[in-house]
């Protein structure tokens, strides 16, 4: 059993993982994800796509809020920018998805700099309200710039392909979104172990001290906004590919809150936690539905009338109870489990 770490080079120090066992598990997970479409139906695959999109968006938010400490509740605005950019470029201008999706991220990242500028002076709840106001502005612009955005009518996406994958099919979309999610995860992990990631962490812990150490706050805060919004914009673009119809109602305020819930529940600042949080929160309603159907007759009149409210209440209760007993989130729970087995039989 491994009991400690001994590093001889800087390369070893910043490696994603120095554990062969960890890499073996990653390989097993990768194989399972690749084989998933062969083992499950289209509905499960569609849920998997939703989970992967949530992972991409939540990783973006986590870099801004979890890593840099800049609270944003305007994520629905950036998702909308990404979704509309991808949908409009693909539908009205005939761009292929390999061009329209990165453009969705780039435009979202570029616009985020407008919100980033107030962040140089604002913190905490003040910044949060600024980002919320921004998401309202995005809604207004989309509704009123009708010649460009189709206004309240929304946009339908045509069937599209990428390297021979039919993205209107569940399987094709799954592989495409899986690829994007893997790239985003690797990019985020690499950013966090670079100078940029360490600068973001320093800003989160104490921005004045970070500046005293020579970190350019303007540059790194704006960079955090741009990178985070790039990923969130990509997530928005992926949403448009999944639903294939978007209008402003798709990007309600609740989405921003759900994104925050994912990173809090998963574990602030951790990429692995964000992934666990996205899986947990996206699948929780489905899990509650299955569990309830095991214990109650689905045809009972009282049940059918109130079931949807019961599910909503159960969703809230699970989150509250979880955070009460596991404030470190799912990643904290995972660390506890790992420590238990690492120290076994001396675990307590």
């Amino acid at each position: 059993m491994r009991t400690g770490h001994y590093k001889e080079t800087y390369g070893e120090l910043i490696a994603l993982s120095d554990s062969g066992v960890a890499w073996a598990w990653v390989a097993a997970l990768a194989a399972a994800l690749v084989l998933l479409p062969l083992l499950v139906g289209n509905y499960t695959l569609s849920l998997a796509v939703s989970v992967l999109i949530a992972i991409v968006g939540a990783i973006g938010l986590n870099l801004l809020t979890g890593t840099t400490g800049l609270i944003s509740i305007g994520q629905s605005g950036f998702l909308a920018i990404g979704a509309y950019t991808n949908a409009l470029l693909a539908t009205d201008y005939g761009w292929p998805v390999w061009a329209s999706l990165p453009a969705a991220g780039v435009l979202s990242g570029a616009i985020s700099l407008l919100v980033g500028i107030p962040s140089l002076r604002l913190k905490g709840l003040y910044l949060a309200i600024t980002t919320l106001a921004f998401s309202f502005i995005v809604n207004y612009v989309i509704l009123y710039a009708e010649p460009l955005t189709h206004g309240p009518n929304g946009v339908f996406l045509n069937d599209t392909t990428f390297l021979g994958l039919d993205l209107s099919s569940d399987r094709g979309l799954y592989y495409f979104v899986l690829g994007v999610a893997v790239l985003v995860t690797l990019a985020a992990l690499n950013l966090l172990r670079s100078r940029i990631g360490r600068a973001w962490l320093a800003i989160r812990d104490h921005d004045i001290a970070a500046r005293a150490m020579g970190i350019d706050l303007v540059r790194y805060k704006l960079l955090a906004f741009a990178v985070s919004s790039f990923f969130v914009g990509i997530a928005g673009g992926l949403m448009s590919l999944q639903i294939r119809f978007i209008n402003i109602d798709v990007f309600g305020f609740l989405l921003s809150i759900e994104a925050l819930a994912i990173i809090i529940l998963g574990g602030f600042g951790s990429i692995a936690g964000t992934i666990l949080g996205a899986v947990f929160l996206t699948l929780l309603p489905e899990a509650i539905r299955i569990v309830l159907s095991l214990f109650v007759d689905p045809q009972a009149p009282a049940y059918t009338k109130y079931i949807y409210e019961i599910r909503g209440i159960a969703y809230g209760i699970v989150i509250v109870v979880f955070l009460r007993f596991k404030p470190d989130g799912l990643i904290g729970l995972w660390r506890d489990v790992r420590k238990y087995f690492a120290n076994w039989p001396l675990a307590y």
């Binding site: 139906g41 509905y43 639903i243 109602d249």
Partner: protein, 393 residues
């Protein structure tokens, strides 16, 4: 010889495959037909979804009690979307993939049905849209989608026409307040049409953001513009707030309202402002003889909670499933989606017993039941009296 052998093999193969294909039709077994319903069952608009579910439930119970569709019982499969389009998409995905539905009767709001449209089109899913008769739904036409109901445009045009001809003083100033979304656009189209056709004085047009709670500024603007006839495109609580504010300013108005304001909870909110407002609706009001007869007939099929949930959406969804049943029945034992769609296209003058005007889908938009009745509220008991019969506008 070789060619003949190949043809024979192909024919035998096709003959062997036919029963398998028929049996494989999604959502149909020897004993049942599963019909989906995606609706708003949670959140502030859940009263709509609950009413819709009661309509489907009653129609299914009536059809099943009469022996079903060629011996097959109808089983309803309902999913909640909370009025969120992305959840509508997931809900229909589940109904298609897990519950294996054959057709859809219950499609939530306009944005919601549009979010489901790619799935509906791909599966050639026979769909009757009863709660979102928006032009975006039927234009362009999707082959398997059939819509019942008039547009908001026609509803407002009908009311303004009535007000212009019967209620408003000559030279009255007209004003509009509407939401800044697809629904508001449709309301403004009806207003625009009336203004142009009757040469009315267009005093002011105001837009507001969905969710706005205070309309004091808008009321002041309307008063300043001298508005005497108001096309009130706000909905439920917002519509009530608009009228409360205009009443505060002592404005004497003729008011045209959205058809959601015919429902008892809405009427209760709007009535205190004291305006005898109009409604243009393609569905019978609760006090209409057709609706009263329906309630009497179907009380035994409903629980107390169901009865409390009944409103206009119940009647229209009931009519929707009855029409779908007629189309399925015409297919005989070999029920397929393609056949149902074909028969829905042939629906002509389907009698909904006065719940709507007779419904026909044999037109290029696959749109029926578009005739409108204009109603007026009786402030004393908050019931609605029909001022016109069903008319096309």
């Amino acid at each position: 010889m070789k060619k003949t052998l190949r043809m024979t093999l192909l024919a035998v193969g096709a003959a062997l495959m036919l029963p398998a294909m028929a049996a494989a039709e999604p959502g149909v077994s020897d004993t049942e037909i599963r019909i989906g319903d995606v609706n708003i069952l949670t959140g502030p608009a859940s009263f709509i979804g609950q009413a819709v579910s009661v309509g489907s439930k009653v129609a299914a119970a009536e059809i099943n009690a009469a022996g079903g569709i060629n011996g097959r019982k109808i089983v309803m499969k309902t999913e909640d979307d909370g009025y969120v389009p992305s959840r509508s998409f997931q809900a229909l995905k589940k109904l298609l993939e897990v519950d294996d539905i054959f057709a859809l009767n219950g499609t939530s709001g306009t944005a919601n049905v549009l979010a489901m449209m790619p799935l509906i089109t791909k599966a050639n899913l026979p769909t009757v849209v009863t709660t979102a008769p928006n032009e975006l739904v039927y234009n362009p036409v999707r082959p398997s989608v059939f819509t019942i109901g008039a547009s908001y445009e026609a509803s407002f045009y009908a009311q303004l026409k009535y007000i212009h001809e019967k209620l408003a003083p000559k030279g009255a100033v007209y004003g509009l307040i509407r939401q800044d979304d697809d629904f508001g656009v449709a309301v403004e189209k009806g207003y625009e049409r009336a203004i142009k056709e009757f040469g009315l004085k267009d005093g002011i047009r105001l837009r507001y953001k969905k969710g706005q709670a205070d309309f004091a500024a808008e009321a002041v603007q309307m008063k300043a513009a001298g508005v005497q006839v108001l096309a009130n495109g706000a909905i439920i609580a917002q519509a009530a707030t608009v009228l409360k504010e205009t009443r505060k300013l002592g404005m004497d108005l003729q008011v045209a309202d959205v058809w959601s304001e015919i429902m008892p909870p809405s009427a209760k909110l709007l009535a205190p402002a004291g305006y005898s407002y109009l409604i243009g609706d393609y569905i019978a009001a609760m006090a209409d003889p057709a609706a009263v007869k329906w309630m009497e007939k179907f009380k035994p099929y409903m629980t107390e909670a169901d009865i409390a949930a009944v409103n206009r959406y119940t009647f229209i969804t009931y009519a929707g499933l009855k029409i779908m049943a007629k189309a399925m029945e015409a297919c005989g034992k070999d029920l397929t989606r393609a056949c149902t769609v074909e028969n829905l296209r042939k629906i002509k003058n389907f009698d909904t017993q006065g719940l709507t005007a007779p419904v026909s889908f044999d037109n290029e938009r696959q749109l029926g039941g578009t005739a409108i009745k204009v109603y007026q509220i009786n402030l004393a008991d908050q019931s609605f009296k029909a001022l016109t019969d069903y008319q096309e506008y």
